[in-house]
């Protein structure tokens, strides 16, 4: 993985099993999103291969690669809903382009996908008219449109409040369990990583390769590399150690009040 001979990551070898929730984590600027772009067919890697169902994504002829890409559903960081179309049109567009369904069937499928993400009745809304969390869920509904075998998420909880982020995590978990599809999530949101991650790799910007792999909860307690442990234990409050000794204060600390 490189931009103009500037190597970002090398020797990145990993396999994702069907049906698992796989987390690609690492600090900012370590190349997580670039790796994702290699996986979803947006940018060819400088060296190396990406196999999907035993087929080499980047060596496949364009038509075959397009067919492979249709088996992937992608939720972009900003949602990337097409702003000039309503939510229903956003979800219907891939269906009209890639299936031979009748209009009535498509509108039923659209209603179903919207209800799956908890947005029943919002089909006529434009992306700009709904909140950020709703946009993310609508984008997820669009990613699900073509019954993908594998779902990619780029920072799904970015820009969401903790409750919405948690709801989205639960949704991802439910959907991947019920649909049986694989989910690959690029994130540095600790709560998500520990909550839903089944397996993971940790990319490091300094050593430019994978420095840890395995289930995130296991890595939190057993990782050898201090960076990985620091990263995954960051969820503990800074003063946790002190408070454990002194006991949590019964009342919140008073804030000095000065008259203006």
């Amino acid at each position: 993985m490189a931009y103009d001979h500037f190597v970002i990551q090398q020797d990145v070898n990993f396999a994702v099993r069907r049906g698992e929730i796989f987390i690609i984590m690492g600090g900012s600027g370590c190349g997580k999103s670039t790796l994702l772009r290699h996986l979803i067919g947006l940018k060819a890697p400088e060296q190396g291969r990406v196999f999907f169902d035993g087929k080499d994504l980047w060596a496949a002829p364009p038509r075959e690669r397009d067919a492979l890409l249709l088996k992937m559903g992608i939720l972009y960081q900003s949602g990337a809903l097409w702003s000039s179309m309503t939510l229903a049109e956003n979800i219907a567009l891939p269906l009209t382009a890639h299936t031979r369904l009748q209009r009535a069937e498509i509108s039923e499928l659209v209603a179903l996908k919207l209800s799956l993400v908890g947005l029943a009745g919002f089909g006529d809304y434009y992306p700009a008219e709904i909140s950020g969390g709703m946009q993310k869920r609508a984008a997820l509904a669009r990613a699900l449109a073509l019954e993908p075998e594998i779902l990619f998420f780029d920072e799904p909880s970015a820009g969401l409040d903790p409750i919405s982020a948690r709801r989205l995590d639960e949704l991802i978990l439910h959907l991947s369990e019920s649909l049986g599809c694989t989910a690959i999530i690029v994130t540095h949101d600790l709560a998500s990583i520990l909550e839903i991650g089944g397996n993971s790799i940790f990319l490091d910007a300094e050593s430019k390769t994978i420095i840890a792999r395995g289930p995130p909860r296991w890595l939190r307690d057993h990782a050898d590399h201090p960076t990985v442990r620091d990263f995954l234990q960051r969820g503990q409050p800074i003063n946790a150690a002190q408070e454990d000794h002194q006991g949590s204060p019964a009342t919140p600390p008073s804030i000095p009040f000065t008259k203006p």
């Binding site: 039923e108 947005l119 019954e147 019920s178 649909l179």
Partner: protein, 379 residues
């Protein structure tokens, strides 16, 4: 893939089993719920529906749409659905789909508007547009006032970059268009003048035409398409990206920080572009006159010097300065009025060019009337 099949088996007078088999996937013709509905009409005592999915091999969302319709049908008729034998994934998804009920207040009714409504809306839009223009003009004047008092916040660096962009960078296209306009004017005029043996007046025609009118007009129209559109697109995408809001909350007035330098840049550069276009256009006329109509360069030059006076250029340059302000105002106004989506940026750009050209034509008519009334060109 085997086609999806639905069999209806009645075990008891009050209970029915729906046997699903084959692949229930998108792309396969799926049995309709109406088949079940018709069957239920013949068995009014049925109170319960069960499923048998042992031979169901694959399924996707199409099975779910079938089941949601079935659930709705059973709900209407008070029939119980036993979903235990459905695949667990299907049950999970159905639970997820029904977890958040449809928000009735979110639904929208789109009513087709009659022509009278459409006419009314257009009229209102037109009047609102007019008010917006007046507001924008007022704000621009206030911003200029603050600039004159030295209190406007804008960056000199931005102004110089904008001047570079709409001045020197526009020279190639201005040269091409002005040269061609000069040549066309000369050719069209000369064909007629030749009938009277008066080809020498090509110089008068091209000189006066370019200096008084065409130089300013063509430059302004080019700048509307080139710079006005760029202003609208730039400010429009800034609106979409919340950059305008960020400026406001940081204590900068977009009128001073973004609009003023743009209007100033066009106002300052367009007179020079216009003069340049005049000269290139007259030169284009000379090329045609000498090449096709046997008039030497020196004859052409003498005729131009005798006929053209400073005031002809002054009127053209004055007009161009007015056009410059109007084009910049149209571009900035449409950019700042842009809605928050990608299509709106395109519409703002289109609208900026159209508004700019309308402003140019209307103001040109007014200025020509005034100039004629004042007898400016009297010898």
């Amino acid at each position: 893939m085997s086609p999806p099949r639905l069999e209806i088996l009645q075990d008891l007078p009050t209970r029915v089993t729906l046997k699903l088999s084959g692949d229930w996937c998108i792309g396969m013709g799926i049995p309709g719920v109406d088949m079940v509905e018709n069957w239920l009409n013949t068995a009014p005592r049925c109170r319960e529906i069960e499923f048998d999915c042992h031979e169901l091999s694959r399924w996707d969302s199409l099975l779910l749409t079938f089941l949601t319709r079935l659930i709705r049908l059973c709900g209407e008729r008070g029939i119980g659905l036993k979903d235990q034998s459905l695949p667990s994934g299907v049950r999970g998804l159905l639970a997820l789909a029904s977890a958040v009920p449809e928000r009735q207040d979110a639904l929208r009714e789109v009513q087709p508007a009659g022509w009278l409504v459409a006419l009314g809306q257009q009229t209102l839009r037109f009047s609102r547009d007019f008010i917006n223009l007046a507001e924008f003009t007022g704000e621009t004047c206030l911003a200029f006032g603050r600039l004159l008092l030295g209190r406007a916040r804008m960056r000199a660096r931005d102004l110089f970059a904008l001047i570079q962009e709409c001045g020197p960078n526009a020279l190639p296209i201005i040269s091409l268009i002005a040269l061609l306009v000069g040549m066309i004017l000369a050719f069209v005029g000369a064909v007629q003048l030749k009938l009277f043996g008066a080809q020498i007046f090509i110089a008068d025609l091209v000189g006066l035409g370019m200096a008084r009118e065409m130089g300013a007009m063509m430059t302004a129209i080019l700048m509307a398409g080139r710079t006005g559109a760029a202003y609208a697109a730039e400010l429009g995408s800034m609106t979409v990206n919340d950059e305008i809001d960020a400026l406001k909350t940081s204590g900068f007035s977009p009128m001073e920080f973004l609009v003023l330098p743009r209007i100033l840049a066009l106002f300052l550069t367009i007179p020079f572009l216009c003069l340049y276009a005049d000269v290139v256009g007259i030169f284009g006329g000379a090329l045609v006159a000498s090449g096709l109509f046997d008039i030497s360069f020196s004859e052409y030059q003498v005729q131009i010097q005798n006929r053209l006076r400073m005031v002809d250029f002054e009127v053209g340059v004055f007009k161009s300065a007015v056009f410059g302000i109007l084009v910049a105002v149209a571009g900035c106004m449409r950019g700042l009025q842009c809605q928050r989506n990608a299509t709106a940026v395109g519409l703002a750009t289109t609208s900026a060019v159209v508004t700019g050209i309308v402003f140019i034509v209307i103001s040109d008519a007014v200025m020509t009337l005034i100039v004629t009334a004042l007898n400016v060109f009297k010898r």
